[in-house]
């Protein structure tokens, strides 16, 4: 039996008349890469924000290492966030700072490390994402792929237990996509205690990096399993998405 990192039970969320999550239940195993796939607008990003505690569900439970975070107060929830790192879709680097300061930011905010210790840690992080000498560059001088790398370094710098990626390869060229996929996989393999959760609609990338895949459709999980499960399923909705066909049940 695998250890469960994050468990979602019957998660519901609506915005006005729009029901985004209609009872999402999913177990995200600890120490693995789980990829949630689905079309744009099916609530994947909303789901991610719930996991981080940036949004509260209308109903349902989110257990992080067994603890229900939906009942926590704001201050407790903020402390809970220390256990997470998040890589945003367009990296969301602070463009008023250079690369080094971006990666150092979480440490300067939340640790008592000296500036020398921070320097060592940040340089090691930058080296691990292949950006050893980019520290002095301004965030807006970077290419899309480099921004993502800095985003990963910033999310990992405090050694989180959970690393969340919001569409990490959207807008990148195929080679860059492969590099970021490799980075996600390498980051996971180098940190056995880490649990990675990736939101994606890129099937090729998903098959490359995922230990577990779940498909979100119309606010529910319609299939979960390994890459094999997804290659072999008969569910026409999943088949249409995986094969990227125009005709099918999903319009």
């Amino acid at each position: 039996m695998k250890k469960i990192g994050i468990a979602l039970e019957g998660l519901q969320k609506r915005f006005g008349a729009q029901e985004v999550l209609r009872g999402v239940s999913l177990e995200i195993p600890a120490g693995e890469v789980t990829v949630i796939i689905g079309r744009s607008g099916t609530g994947k990003s909303v789901l991610l924000k719930h996991v981080m505690g940036l949004m509260r569900p209308d109903a349902g439970i989110i257990r992080v290492s067994g603890q229900d975070i939906t009942r926590l107060r704001d201050a407790e929830l903020r402390r809970e966030r220390f256990r997470f790192g998040m890589v945003f879709q367009n990296a969301a680097l602070f463009d008023s700072m250079n690369v080094f300061d971006n990666v150092a930011f979480p440490l300067r905010e939340h640790s008592k490390l000296s500036e020398a210790q921070i320097r060592l840690r940040v340089e090691a992080m930058l080296a691990s994402v292949g950006l050893k000498d980019a520290g002095k560059k301004q965030a807006n001088e970077l290419s899309g792929g480099m921004r993502k790398r800095v985003g990963v370094a910033r999310a990992m710098v405090r050694g989180p237990e959970f690393l969340l990626y919001d569409e990490p390869t959207t807008g990148l060229d195929p080679i860059m996509t492969a590099q970021i996929d490799a980075l996600i996989r390498d980051t996971q393999d180098a940190n056995p205690g880490l649990t990675s959760l990736v939101i994606s609609h890129d099937m090729a990338a998903t098959f490359r990096i995922a230990d577990k895949i779940a498909m979100l459709h119309e606010g529910r999980v319609i299939l979960e399993g390994t890459a094999e499960t997804f290659r072999e399923t008969d569910d026409p909705r999943v088949r249409q998405f995986v094969e990227g066909r125009l005709e099918g049940p999903i319009q």
Partner: protein, 260 residues
């Protein structure tokens, strides 16, 4: 929708907007009061709001003082009271013109920049990134900006007063026929420190308004580049209207206390 429900919906959305703005302001103020104190960020913003606005305040201040001297002369010369030009211009400057014109100039420069900068940070998820790193964005971004403007707009108003009176002195003494002694004596006779104090109080409120509206509009931006543009424009317009309307009400409140 019939006109009455449309009116009702309009009123509800205004009330909701005010409520959201006030709760935003309270969170920012609370953020500013609780540690960690963002001193570096505060000084950076004070430099941006204060030092970098100096030139436009100097220019507008001098010319406002000068044009008011010319206008006052038109009235006072009709009954030979030109020596009062300095006093009347100084009174108008300290009580009204300097606080309001400084705030409007700073609003155009600073309120818009705050809305644009924070709005861009919102739409590029930089504010979400702060949240995800357990950093209170109200404390980190809004509090230093609001405090900086609340401190620096009164300081700029003082500069406006000083150069405005100098501009007036130049026109009255050098171009018209007022003697330097009469110019100074009349100001000393008619203008009290309370006149200055009231203007300072008002300008602090203007600074608070223009920065908090700018930050609020930035924080609540949505819809990409177009949204940032919209947020910037509405921030400047709303702050401009608030400065002028709140000025009237503050004057009503302060006048019986013999200040403002």
């Amino acid at each position: 929708m019939n006109p009455i429900s449309r009116l009702g919906a309009g009123i509800i959305s205004v009330v909701e907007g005010v409520g959201r703005y006030v709760s935003f302001l309270l969170r920012a103020v609370r953020g500013g009061l609780l540690p960690p104190y963002r001193v570096r960020s505060l000084f950076k913003q004070m430099h941006f709001v204060g030092v970098e606005s100096l030139l436009i305040v100097l220019v507008t201040g001098v010319f406002t003082g000068m044009v008011f001297a010319v206008q006052a002369n038109i009235g006072f010369s009709r009954f030979g009271a030109e020596s009062l030009i300095g006093a009347i211009v100084t009174l108008s400057l300290t009580r009204e013109l300097a606080p309001v014109l400084t705030a409007l100039m700073v609003n155009g420069r600073v309120g818009s920049a705050m809305a644009a900068e924070l709005g861009t940070m919102r739409v590029t998820e930089q504010i979400d990134a702060l949240d995800s790193m357990a950093v209170d964005a109200h404390q980190y971004l809004a509090a230093p900006r609001i405090l900086a403007a609340t401190l620096m707009v009164p300081a700029l108003t003082m500069v406006f007063n000083a150069v405005g009176v100098l501009g007036c002195w130049y026109v009255a003494v050098k171009q018209l026929s007022v003697t330097p002694g009469a110019f100074q004596a009349r100001i000393e006779w008619w203008v009290d420190p309370d006149d200055l104090l009231g203007g300072m109080l008002k300008s602090a409120v203007f600074g608070l308004l223009l920065s908090s509206v700018g930050c609020y509009k930035g924080f609540t931006t949505s819809g990409g580049a177009e949204g940032v543009g919209r947020a910037t424009t509405t921030a400047v317009v709303i702050s401009g209207v608030l400065i002028l309307t709140s000025d009237y009400f503050m004057t009503l409140i302060l006048a019986p206390l013999s200040i403002g």
